[in-house]
């Protein structure tokens, strides 16, 4: 069955007492519309192309769930599915349609079909689904670039924060380090110790961050699915993302630890004692 999507005025109406002269028309409606308008299967609705215009009655035959299309998530419009010929008649569209979907066997067949249609077409164009996907995902590419930029700023802030904390930590222990140096522990060993400590802190922080990120991601999905009433996944913590985050934080932790340790071991032990 070919179906077409249309946003139409829908109003609930009681069933007419006279028997219909032909089989009743049927429509499938968005489950959100059904919930908001209190419609049930078998109810009769009036469909009209414009507000206040005389319309056609139709039976609610099915409920449909909005597909997970990110480009429509913020619009919140209701959608109903109507038989194509009935919709054309209702809105005075004649035999016109807005688009055809054509199934092909593989990529080569798609390219060949595109060329054939382009040669014969006048007034319309054929696109491969992948082209449309690229076009319609522009919004999300922009959001993704924005998130990446925010991510870079966050990483820089984290790096400075980490370096500051490591400096404070090694500064606090300058007397211990001075004592170690005076009893013959080498600079290299002290640097290794500090770097190891910072690596451990970074590893613990990363593990906590992955857990926290997963929890926040679940909360974000729960919240926005409720707000937009969609099954879309808004936030996704994949293994790849977690790995990148852990590597990044370990790298930053090691670098901060090394810089802080170098600053400490360069000073003579007695000056670390304050003399």
């Amino acid at each position: 069955m070919l179906t077409c999507l249309a946003a139409l005025l829908v109003a609930a109406q009681s069933i007419d007492s006279l028997p219909p002269r032909h089989a009743p028309r049927t429509v499938a409606i968005d489950e959100r519309l059904a919930k908001d308008a209190g419609l049930r299967l078998g109810d009769t609705v009036v469909l009209a192309a414009t507000p206040g215009a005389a319309g056609d009655t139709a039976l609610v035959a099915a409920f449909v769930r909005r597909p997970s299309d990110p480009s429509e998530v913020a619009k919140g419009v209701y959608r109903i599915r109507v038989h194509l010929d009935e919709l054309q008649q209702l809105v005075g569209y004649g035999e016109r349609v807005e688009r055809f979907a054509v199934g092909t066997r593989g990529r080569a067949a798609t390219d060949s079909a595109l060329r054939g249609i382009a040669a014969a077409a006048f007034g319309f164009r054929a696109y491969a689904s992948r082209e449309i996907a690229v076009e319609s995902s522009t919004t999300f590419l922009v959001v993704s670039r924005f998130h990446r930029a925010i991510g870079v700023i966050t990483i820089v802030a984290s790096a400075v924060f980490l370096l500051c904390i490591m400096l404070l930590k090694v500064d606090e222990r300058r007397r211990d380090v001075a004592a170690l140096r005076l009893i013959g522990i080498s600079r290299r060993s002290i640097v290794r110790g500090v770097v190891l400590e910072s690596a451990l802190i970074a590893a613990c922080g990363s593990a906590a961050g992955v857990v926290l990120g997963s929890v926040v991601s679940a909360v974000v999905n729960w919240h926005y699915r409720r707000v937009y009433r969609t099954p879309l996944t808004f936030s996704l913590v994949t293994g790849e993302i977690a790995t990148i985050a852990v590597i990044l934080s370990l790298g930053l932790g090691l670098a901060a630890g090394y810089l802080a340790a170098q600053r400490l071991v360069r000073r003579p032990p007695l000056s670390l004692f304050g003399r």
Binding site: P51, A74, G92, G123
Partner: protein
Amino acid sequence: MILALAWASLVRHRTRTLLATVGVAISAAMLLDMVMLATGMRESFRSLLLAQGFQIRLAPKGTLPFDTDATIPGAADAIRTLSARRDVVAVSPVLGEQLHVERDTASVSAAALGTLAPVEGDYKLLSGEAPRAEGEIAANDALLTAVGARVGDTLRLAAGFDPQLRAFTGRRTVRVVGRVHFIYLSAGERAVAVPLSALQSMEGAARRDRVSLIMVRLRDGTDVEAARQAIERGVPAVSAISTTTAIEQVEERLSYFRQLAFILGTVSLAVGFLLVTTLVTVSVNERLGEIAVLRAIGIRRIRIVQQILIEGTAIMLGGAVAGLGLGLLTARYLNSILAAFPGLPEAIDFFLFEPRDAWIALGLLAGSGILAGIYPAWRGASRPIAGTLREEAVA
């Protein structure tokens, strides 16, 4: 003396103070950006809507302006009804369609806005004149560049295609009389302004006496909400949308950015707060002996607390001032990313700087700087003097 002591304490650990200030500057920049993001869209959109002085917009019932292909029927009657109202100064109908500029090889499509030149509110004239008669159009630079035309040139326009006859429909030969900038269109979008009646006639029976949008300018001092409700009652086929309602609806759609701004702003503030708290705590721990000596020679506890608070606030304020410049730079960069949103009017700024935003960010940071210092300062100044001095002497 307190200021001198606080300054000496900050200068004693230059690297530490510098790093903390840089950290706070980044947090401040992020906070400023997020405050700008939270308010910028609203203000930018409001000034865009009010740029031409129209306070109410009428769209087909149940839709937002140009959100769907739906049109308002009985446009002439609606305009008459609106014009008859005492509180209405101007009524500007607009029909939005797609037109095709015929070229030798292929056609170039462009958005077309059918308007009435004396009351139009969709474009600004850059050169030439507004199209008033049939056979006249004004185009924006994107379209003129795409078709290689200039003001004074003649173009062939078509409203659509007839696939069965393999011919264009609604064809007209027109002269470009003006070069315009469309206020509500996105950057690079090709567009043309056409007299309303000419566009309706090109589109045929389907668009006869129909428009996509009617903009209404009210007399100064009119209650916009009351007028909006009265207009909606008087013209049943439309939804009347005031600037406030339009902003609310756009905000609802872009609520993601407002929530993101709130979350990231809070995180930035928390990071700055933690950084200063850590720094002040360590600094106080290092100076327990010094604080005990100051108290032993008669300096009051409150003075010591004040000195430590000044240190924390100085780092916060120093970072905040540096963060202000950094924030403006990053805001410009982030805005350039978001400006690429498809269909977004060119004039919309996600990050709109207002002095109030800077004051809010500065106030929040100064407040958190003071809060960050209170606990470690009080803790350091409250330790028993004799015990602390003995511990420090042994150490």
